[in-house]
Symmetry: C2
Subunit: 406 residues, 2 copies
């Protein structure tokens, strides 16, 4: 007998028919002799509708009341899922965040889980019941309803799996797993049967929307085996696990892209100490996140050129901040370019294999693709290229690293 947390995302419980189908997946797990805890999101679209109401109300938004409003969608779905399970002859009951309780801090709107009292849920499981928990919601130290921020239902599921020492946390969603790259770009993309937490973290922060960074971090910290799988197919998904569990490690596990990046190049900057701080200080003050940074000596040898990336949404704001400080800092010219894409190869195997970056650079060079910026971490290499070359680059790299399906 295994203990499994099954989490159903918004598209998996989007309407009554979906909820009934999800209930059948719970029943199948139960019929296989397993203990099951269910976590449900709100119906897809429901939370956005509630947020839109809050926006329409206007005024200074009190996040405590925001949480009272937006947590209601998960609550009703928890009741509906319990009813659907009962309809299949299964003993089930909803456990709201405050009933369990799922304790959080008081940072309403994006609270962190500080503790889960597992006693009631353990008792419920011991009685042969399936507890159904609304995701995304918790209880603050002053007994107010909190929510965990976007993707919060995944956090609930992973945290419950950790607290209850579950054997696995299954995240049911509208994709059937993690792929070596986006199958819409590379038809030969393969679904990974396993991926490490570290790789998943890089994929998440590089634009893969399947699991959010916080959930992966939490799973890693509590060593929760997370499976990403589809509500609409019966195939196994991708299991996110620690490195030790992966026997035959690929050097590169996947290739991701992010189009939400824009490049800013500052030409002919006075080459003097403190200039980098003078440039990035005002950007940080404006809450603009800077990602890749490279610095060159400029052609004349007396000044320096600096290139970095920001999120596309922040581009205009960043340029405005820089122009305001241009004279003071001594920047010759500001060149902005949003027609770029960041391509990353990710794999924990890089730690023990040399030549991964070199293969990337050579593959791109062979295709005549110019690399604008490079950045690396322990388990990934990212390059910035012109957007028009993005798909070509991904396909070439996918083949070069031996990721193509047979």
């Amino acid at each position: 007998m295994a203990r499994i947390v099954q989490k159903f995302g918004g598209t998996s419980v989007a309407n009554i028919e979906c909820i009934k189908n999800a209930a059948l997946r719970v029943k199948a797990e139960r019929d296989a002799g397993n203990e099951v805890v269910v976590v449900v999101s709100a119906m897809s679209g429901a939370t956005n509708e509630l947020i839109e109401y809050v926006n329409q109300i206007g005024g200074l938004c009190d996040a405590r009341e925001y949480d009272v409003v937006v947590s209601s969608g998960e609550q009703s779905n928890a009741g509906l899922m319990a009813l659907a399970l009962q309809g299949l002859g299964i003993q089930a009951r909803s456990w709201l965040g405050w009933q369990i309780a799922i304790q959080t801090d008081a940072v309403h709107g994006k609270a962190r889980i500080t503790g889960i009292d597992k006693n009631k849920l353990e008792k419920s499981l011991a009685e042969g019941e399936i507890p159904v928990v609304p995701g995304f919601q918790g209880l603050s130290p002053t007994n107010r309803v909190t929510t965990l921020g976007r993707g919060g239902s995944d956090l609930t599921a992973v945290a419950l799996a950790g607290a209850l020492k579950a054997d696995r946390c299954d995240i049911y969603t509208d994709v059937d797993g993690i792929y070596t790259t986006d199958p819409r770009i590379v038809s030969k993309a393969k679904k990974l049967s396993k991926i490490t937490y570290e790789e998943m973290l890089e994929m998440a922060s590089l634009g893969s929307k399947v699991l959010q960074t916080r959930s992966v971090e939490l799973a890693m910290n509590h060593n929760v085996r997370v499976q990403v799988r589809s509500s609409f197919k019966d195939t196994p998904g991708t299991i996110v696990v620690s490195e030790e569990e992966i026997v035959e490690q690929q050097v590169v596990s996947g290739i991701s892209q992010s189009k939400d990046e824009a490049k800013i190049t500052l030409l002919k900057i006075a080459d003097q100490p403190g200039v980098a701080a003078a440039i990035f200080g005002p950007l940080a003050d404006a809450a603009i996140n800077v990602d890749m940074i490279v610095q060159n000596i400029s052609e004349d040898g007396n000044t320096t050129d600096l290139t970095f990336t920001v999120g596309t949404v922040d581009l205009n704001k960043a340029v405005a901040v820089l122009e305001k400080n241009q004279a003071k800092i001594g920047i010759g010219e500001i060149v902005a370019d949003s027609d770029v894409v960041k391509i990353s190869v990710v794999g924990v195997g890089m730690r023990s294999h040399a030549g991964v970056a070199q293969k990337m650079f050579k593959t791109l060079a062979d295709k005549g693709i110019n690399i604008k910026v490079i950045s690396t971490s322990e388990i990934k290499v990212s390059v910035l290229v012109a957007e028009e070359y993005g798909e070509l680059a991904i396909r070439a790299l996918h083949t070069a690293y031996g990721l193509d399906a047979d």
Copy 2:
């Protein structure tokens, strides 16, 4: 300074614009120097949508989970109202049923309030805050969410007004008060400035949908002054109070009609002891509510005729039950008639004034309207007439009892 509970029904908080308007009414009461507690319903239609979801799920409906689902609409509206009030510069916060707590029994779906812990709300008021309470919801002895049944938000408001010893409980709705009769039938119908609990009870049980019987009973038991008024007009509404508060009592306060009645006549019943029990027993077993009953000796003198009314929705079921027992009981013939309407004149003044019923019978006779069944209580006289004469009867009675507006 007065203490006032303001309750906004579904049509008064049907969308964000309505919620903002309702918030302005709260502000006006506050600006007048009063302490205010707000109770909100779900957006009109929202609860029905949630109930429809529960119906679509099917299976045996666990009322505990039903309550988890259907209570969510009031929860989100409580948060939205608190935000709307904050937008007007007013300190406000939502207090959910379990946070207060509003204790109820465990009869999920139509729980009764067993107690309200007023301490947190008193503290909130003392701090100059406006508490916003979702109507309709409470907390069972085992810490489950309960709901109070249809019209439950009125119950919440009246119960809070009682517990907090409020000076008044204002029920904001889509009508501007209680009228002497339906203004769509009698253009000269007058809005009553005051009405007694007893009269309101009769009106409610006679089909007036403005306040439900349970809320009126609760108000009467706790001596809560309830005002029914419009969210969409600034005119004062109708205050429901105890008899002593009404100085100049009309003999008849109002005339109501109910079209949801059907008449069943049983002809030539064997006239023997126990026959009434034999007839009404099976109807009661089938959960069919019987209202007016009259019995006559039939033409031949050896048998009896019996006429009674049931709800229109129960008519076919009632006839089927009777036909099944027809031979055993000895019923000559069963005649059903749904083209009838019950007209009632209501007024506490009847207790001290003779001739009210007589005036009703004479007025109807003068118009050539045949009375099919009569029933009376201490403060009302009801007659059943053919539906086609209903409006004529109401207009004639409205004039006869001196209720027409000038």
